[in-house]
């Protein structure tokens, strides 16, 4: 049997199970509860089953050993210990490596006998028979749905008949040697959905189907307005579906469904739970849990669709085109109006243009939402990481996470992970003091790192805050001077906040000893440039003795942004609004020159100026350029603590723009990050503000 077509699915599912294990093992260490134990056991069990089915025996063996430990824990035969958690994490890391190897086309064959033995040793104190009892073969007896669900299903079947739909009972027979039966079951459910049918009930229930808790066949109650034969034909198209029998659902047949399920419900008191857990002492609450998860999971199964990320990217690109055309149509409408006044045709064009505009906005919003993922995807790995780091450095650290549900575009999610890892490492390594030192200072032994995410206008604000030793601005100035990053007088002029930002300077590291994890001073520099590359901003604030807080502001998406359009020479440039602080109209005589560099004084602060025309097109912006009487337009942009004024010829206005990349044939264009198409079809280049700041520092140095 060729299993290659299942590999992708297996890998994805294995990834999910591994994530669940990681999260739950950590929770286990902190506060073990029956719910966690059940969940963790189920994850290990599923992973064991699927890896064995795919022929990855080493992986199956290792998960089997883990499963045994969880089972013993669940039965109260052993207690959680740090050593046990370390071994479980060790096993989990090996599982990840195996998964990665399989993903690269290899096998799961990593020597893991030692790991398996170390896990078995945990169990050596536990009763021998409980071990063997804990791992029965995957049962063939289907689990039943709860009586509550049956009533609910019956009601919906009756409602369907009342509203004129046909209700049929489908019996789907799979080929005997079907691998990953759950996949076929899922495909059957999707095929019914795609062909105009609605699954009202299944026997066994969808969770059991998902867990492969069934034999070679299962039954579905389906409502549809289509001929049942067309549905049957669609199902027979699915490979490994051997046969499908259909009969109309009537009172009699419904009773039969109800009868079977209630009969097995009686024989197995813990209805929603897996049958493979004969736990006489199982409290009623665990049955309730099973029921809860069954009801919450069923709709999730049938209403979610996995979509290839590339498809979403394509959709977003297409919407980008539409956004441009929408702007174009609206502009044409205005031009026609100006030319033909109130002609009927013009009015109806304007009306249509407005409607297209609204629809496009909505379409764009929904597609953006479809690309959103909760930041949880990144945060999830941090508790484990912080735990391991704390252990390594001999610190005691509590990681508090907030706002994991905050959603942002997947492209931003991908990029934010590494910077966050680095900053958390820094907090554990350099921020939080060792427990003894903290006690001496009158702080709790355990330090706290708070990681939070929240929406703020058009941004996501991510904060990392620790209650450690904080940073000393005087010390930072000192180091900056010593390392030749700043001249002494320049360093003295920095405000405390500006001094904190020195940690982002290239080659700056204040750690007295270079540690294995935080490494050398390359880190924060790269953190900042990574964040800036996606249009984000990172700031740092600190109070000596009290702690440090990093704030990261990220755009919700990288594809469509709001920008300020300005004119430079005869071209239009777009400045991302995320960088714009304010716009000014100044008289030329307000410009002063300091060492040949133009500046203005804004609210008591010296603001360096960059003339975009001379920056991009050459020429000289000197005192003679400022002799005209014409007022000048200045866009004040900020990058962290730094600000500068961009001199432009005209301000045009704000607009939503779709970011398009420039062809590589144009080379690396300093100061330009991409281009966009405006409503009139013209192209505007998008300014890369960070580049211009860097250029300015290079000139000043």
């Amino acid at each position: 049997m060729d299993t290659s077509e299942y590999i992708a699915l297996f890998l994805e599912e294995a990834g999910e199970q591994i994530d669940v294990l990681e999260r739950d093992i950590l929770q286990l260490e902190q506060s073990p509860s029956p719910e966690i134990l059940n969940e963790i056991f189920r994850a290990a069990h599923t992973l064991k089953g699927s890896s064995r089915a795919m022929g990855f025996t080493a992986m199956g063996e290792l998960t089997h050993a883990m499963e045994d430990v969880f089972d013993a824990l669940r039965k109260g035969e052993i207690d959680v210990s740090t050593e046990m958690v370390n071994r479980l994490f060790g096993a989990l890391d090996t599982l990840k490596t195996m998964r990665d190897q399989i993903a690269e086309g290899g096998t799961s064959d990593i020597a893991c006998d030692e790991l398996v033995q170390s896990l078995r040793r945990i169990l050596s104190g536990a009763a021998a028979e409980s071990l063997s009892a804990s791992t029965p073969a995957v049962p063939s007896a289907p689990t039943s749905t709860t009586i509550h669900l049956q009533e609910h299903e019956r009601e919906s079947a009756l409602t369907a008949i009342d509203s004129g739909l046909g209700v049929y009972q489908f019996t789907v027979h799979l080929a005997e040697d079907t691998l990953m039966k759950s996949v076929r079951a899922l495909m059957v459910l999707q095929a019914i959905d795609a062909n105009g049918g609605a699954v009202l009930a299944s026997h066994p229930d969808e969770e059991a189907l998902d867990d492969e808790q069934f034999g070679d066949s299962f039954e579905l109650l389906v409502a549809t307005d289509k001929p049942e034969e067309s549905l049957r034909a669609a199902l027979l198209q699915i490979s490994e579906v051997r046969d499908v029998t259909v009969k109309p659902w009537q009172d009699g047949s419904s009773r039969q469904v109800v009868a079977t399920s209630s009969a097995s419900a009686q024989s197995a008191p813990s209805a929603g739970e897996e049958v493979r857990e004969p736990e006489p002492q199982s409290p009623p609450s665990s049955a309730g849990d099973g029921e809860k998860s069954a009801t919450s999971r069923t709709p999730a199964m049938s209403q979610m669709v996995r979509v290839d990320v590339q498809r979403l990217d394509t959709l977003l690109n297409l919407v980008g085109e539409l956004v441009i055309d929408r702007t174009r149509v609206a502009q044409l409408g205005r031009e026609f109006e100006a030319r033909f006044q109130h002609d009927d045709m013009v009015d109806s064009l304007l009306e249509t243009a407005a409607h297209i505009g609204r629809i496009t906005d909505e379409l764009q919003e929904h597609i953006m939402k479809a690309r959103m993922l909760p930041i949880e995807q990144v945060f999830n790995r941090f508790p484990r990481m912080v735990r391991d780091l704390a252990q390594k450095f001999g610190k005691e650290v509590r990681l508090v996470m907030e706002g994991q549900e905050t959603e942002l575009d997947r492209s931003v999610i991908e990029m934010i992970s590494d910077p966050l890892i680095h900053m958390l490492r820094n907090s554990v390594d350099h921020g939080i003091e060792p427990p003894e030192e903290r006690e001496a200072l009158g702080k709790p032994r355990q330090g706290t790192i708070r990681l939070s995410a929240q929406h703020e206008e058009n941004y996501i604000l991510i904060e990392i805050e620790d209650d450690g030793k904080g940073m000393d601005p005087a010390h930072l100035r000192e180091v900056a001077v010593r390392k030749g990053i700043l001249a002494r007088d320049a360093a003295e002029r920095l405000s405390d906040r500006e001094a904190f930002s020195l940690i982002f300077a290239p080659g700056f590291s204040t750690a007295k000893q270079v540690t294995e994890v935080s490494g050398r001073g390359v880190g924060m520099d790269i953190v900042r440039s990574n964040i800036q590359r996606v249009g984000g901003i990172v700031e740092v604030d600190s109070t000596p003795g009290k702690g440090t807080r990093f704030s990261i502001r990220l755009p919700l998406t990288l594809a469509i942004i709001r920008a300020l359009l300005v004119r430079v020479a005869s071209e239009v440039y777009a400045i991302p609004l995320s960088s714009v602080l304010e716009t000014l109209k100044i008289q030329p005589d307000a410009v002063q020159f300091v060492g040949g560099h133009p500046v203005i004084v804004l609210r008591g602060r010296t603001l360096p100026l960059v003339n975009l025309q001379t920056h991009f097109y050459g020429g000289f912006f000197g005192a003679s350029s400022c002799r005209s009487e014409e007022p000048m337009f200045v866009v004040v942009v900020g990058l962290g603590e730094r600000q500068l004024g961009l001199v432009v010829n005209h301000l045009i206005g704000e607009q939503e723009i779709v970011i398009k990349s420039l062809s590589r044939h144009l080379g690396q264009i300093g100061g330009v990050s991409g281009a966009t198409i405006l409503g009139d079809g013209r192209i505007a280049l998008i300014l890369e503000v960070a580049d211009i700041f860097n250029n300015l520092s290079a000139c000043a140095a």
Binding site: E571, Y617, Q668, I669, I677
Partner: protein, 151 residues
Amino acid sequence: MSTATMTATAERQVVAFRLGEETYAIDISYIHEIIRMRAITFVPRAPHYMRGVINLRGRIVPVMDLSARLGLPTHEETPQSRIIVVEIGNESIGMIVDAVSEVLRLPEEQIEPPTQMAGSESANYISGLGKVNDRLVLLLDVEKVVENTGQ
């Protein structure tokens, strides 16, 4: 012997165009479309032979001055000037030429290797020399022209 198939396989279809006084040609399979001159958005700090970018139905396509790229003297735009948009891989790139003359069928046996032109800068980008009615046609190696731009 079938002469019909012989000629079908031994012939190259090219689009001929002028750069100054010379006639060049590009294999027709590269050509995406030929458009009139239009406003080109200047891109600062790009290579000198890149004139900027144009909006081709929502796509942003870079445009090069082919004469400048080949090291030939450049000319003022005329009403006959055109942008030939070629497609290589998944990328489009526009090339400004002085005029597009015609589609030619060049018999393979009339195409000579470019050895006799060795020495001139543009020779690097010529894949062959064709003769049509005693007129010399320089076959452009489009991939080479586009290769290494932007570096």
